[in-house]
């Protein structure tokens, strides 16, 4: 066998097939890059439902005849997250990419790869919304879309059975105060009925920790302070003590938890605006869910999103203009009407459409007014550093271990401390 000929054939075959693959790869990449004089195609990537309907995007296209918008929706935010970090800093991201507040700490590490929001727009949003997306150099990297101001959802029939007031205003007055007050009402409810007051220690803890300015990491040095922070320990102790008698021990988003929404396993729940849809969708036969305009310790925010513009995109200028328009107060109110995404713009919160909106499922509660009040009550933008997610995830697991009775509060805390110590 002539091995040189074989080798040559092999090399040739490899070369041909490789170049074919490379060419195929290039073909799809080069198609979209056109000069900015001509018509421009802008891609917008979102997930779940941002309320950016086709009609809404058409509106922008008719105002800007040279712009064509392609809207890609990922099914879940997890899909979008994986895609975002795989392509960030390389090619392939959309001109405008939506991000969720949960991954903001990771995005902030790469803030230099994103085009900053122009200074004149910064006053558009609530302070704490911009603060969370501003990097140490003072660049705001995300156009705020929606927020998740929290209120308290409750079931009036269960409150009635426990001899508690049922009218939303009375309930708000009853709970008004700090977390101790909330748990006090919970103890009252639990002793009257022998049933659970709230859904899970994890969900309640999340509401509490979101009111702490710097819970896990030092904003200055980036050091992990979680295990030594007395505030964290205090919240942990409060929640685990209360959950022993007041929690339904149903982990949020578990199958049991969804069942609990409709079968009265718990009487109250911390309720960001978007949670209303989750409750109404999973407890369709229940008519007694209501929402009270109150939140322990004032205001709290859970969730929300931003739009970002990758700095290496083909049409950064045009993308910025579109992101500006999409997050303007007027457009956000329309998005709210489309999908219930609660706006984060100061002006939008004054809009009549928003303030007058009610929710039929929640006994026509004036949800627009309630959540505007709750949003205005938020004062703290919690600092979330690059290890926030890992530490918080370990904490949620620690709380679950206590809830299932697998470990006592002390053992579980100690295990959490050792897990946090193992991070980097």
């Amino acid at each position: 066998m002539n091995s040189r000929a074989l080798r040559r054939t092999a090399i040739l075959t490899v070369a041909v097939s490789t170049s074919a693959i490379v060419l195929a790869g290039c073909a799809s990449g080069s198609g979209s890059s056109s000069e900015s004089d001509g018509p421009v195609t802008l891609t917008v990537a979102t997930f779940n439902d941002f309320g950016y309907s086709d009609a809404l995007l058409k509106e922008y296209e008719s105002e800007h005849p040279n712009v064509k918008i392609v809207h890609n929706k990922a099914a879940t935010s997890n899909d979008a997250r994986a895609n975002y970090f795989q392509k960030l800093g390389k090619k392939g991201l959309a001109d405008i990419e939506a991000i969720e507040v949960d991954w903001l700490p990771e995005v902030m590490k790469y803030s230099d790869l994103l085009a900053p929001v122009p200074d004149d727009l910064k006053s558009r949003w609530l302070d704490w919304k911009t603060e969370a997306a501003t990097d140490p150099d003072g660049n705001l990297i995300g156009y705020g879309t929606d927020i998740g101001p929290e209120a308290i959802c409750y079931r009036s029939d269960l409150f009635e059975a426990a001899g508690l007031p049922t009218d939303p205003t009375d309930v708000a007055n009853l709970i008004d105060g700090d977390w101790a007050k909330y748990f006090e009402v919970g103890a009252q409810y639990a002793s009257a009925t022998g049933k659970a007051f709230f859904d899970s220690a994890g969900g309640t803890y999340q509401g509490m920790i979101n009111q702490v300015e710097a819970a896990y990491e030092d904003p200055e040095s980036g050091d992990i302070i979680a295990t030594k922070n007395p505030e964290v320990k205090d919240i942990y102790d409060q929640v685990t003590a209360a959950s022993a008698t007041q929690s339904a021990h149903l982990g949020q988003w578990s199958d049991d938890w969804f069942a609990g929404l409709s079968n009265g396993a718990f009487a109250t729940m911390l309720c960001p605006g978007w949670m209303l849809g989750v409750i109404s969708g999973n407890a369709q036969d229940v008519t007694t869910w209501n929402v009270a305009n109150v939140f322990p310790n004032g205001g709290g925010n859970w969730g929300g999103s931003y739009l970002t513009v990758p700095a290496n995109g083909a049409h950064v200028k045009e993308a910025q203009a579109l992101a500006d328009w999409l997050t303007s107060p007027e457009t956000q109110v329309k998005a709210f009407e489309n999908a219930g995404t609660f706006p984060s713009q100061v002006k939008a919160l004054e809009s009549d459409t928003l303030l007058s909106s009610t929710n039929e499922f929640f006994n026509n509660a004036p949800v627009g007014q309630i959540f505007t009040d709750r949003a205005n009550a938020v004062t703290v933008a919690p600092f979330k550093g690059q290890y926030y997610f890992q530490i918080n995830d370990a904490m949620q697991k620690a709380l679950t271990r206590v809830e299932t009775g697998e470990q006592d509060a002390k053992t579980s805390w100690d295990q959490w401390v050792s897990e946090v110590d193992a991070i980097k």
């Binding site: 066998m1 074989l6 800093g89 679950t400 299932t404």
Partner: protein, 364 residues
Amino acid sequence: MTSTLTPPAATENPDAPTRRTRRIGFGHRLSHWDLKFSPYLYISPFFLLFVIVGLFPIAYTAVISFMDWDLVRNSGTFIGFDQYTWVLSNPKFWIALRNTFSIFLLSSIPQLAAAIFIAAMLDQNIRAKTFWRMGVLIPYVMAPVAVALIFSAMFGDKYGLVNTALQNIGLPAIPWHSNAFASHIAIATMVNFRWTGYNTLILLAAMQAIPRDYYEAATVDGAGKARQFFSITVPSLRPTLIFVIITSTIGGLQIFDEPRMYDQYGTGGPNSQWLTITLWLYNIGWGEWNFGRAAALAWILFLIILVIGIVNLFVTRRLVRDEGSRNPLSRRERRAAERSARDRVAAQSRAAVAASTTDKEEAR
């Protein structure tokens, strides 16, 4: 090939009568090449594809496993074996290893036992054969994620179907999501549901290849169904069993979908009760974006599977008796016969050597 093309040296001599060199036609040469190279060309697409999508990622993973890798900036610093040390010294690794093996054993063993039994049943002369045979494959057609979703709803701690049923007949509810062993059983159930039918069909195909004469002869000899199953069917399945066991080992050690879909977070439970190696690998890579560690873990998993696969092969070879055992002698008798044959040959050669030396001596 080249030698036939060079003209013979004789033509250099001008006096010699010019002889026309035999020209080889292009067609001939082409068919010659065809014979030599086309087989390689035909099998090359797979190997090229394997090099690009298989071998390269594997090698690249090895490189990254020695680095502190930043996926977004696509850069890293070389840190030697630090990632491997981190993985091996993390208690979670050993918990994940325990869980992986526990789930693997809880799924593979009952699954193969059931598969052999069902296949033997399907191999009988039953009505509507095709219907039953296709029936066992239906669970396999279902998407694993769909299976996991349905089963995790069934295994709910408070309002799940299984616990409700247990409580209705007066038994205590099982903490499916906090007891490690219970969670392994629940996950193994999902795996078994999906894969038993698949293995059944493979084993059934192998069973059909066993000559019916054996069974007829056995029946004539008065062997019962059970005896026929253990003495004819199982030994004849040896090569297929090895294949099935090895594939289910690889699959079992890489188990991911079911534990990931088992609860709402997909991170293996509050106390890592059902954290498997691949699940942890995913969480490190796509949850914490630490690709150096994930790559190191991937290589450790690769080595584990390799070792288990080899051990598996030897154990299976030992356990399952020789194909068909058509030799009436038992293994011990066979060995004894071999030994005596060897001895006989040795004795003969000794005798021959002795004879030749005596010849030489006599000649002297």
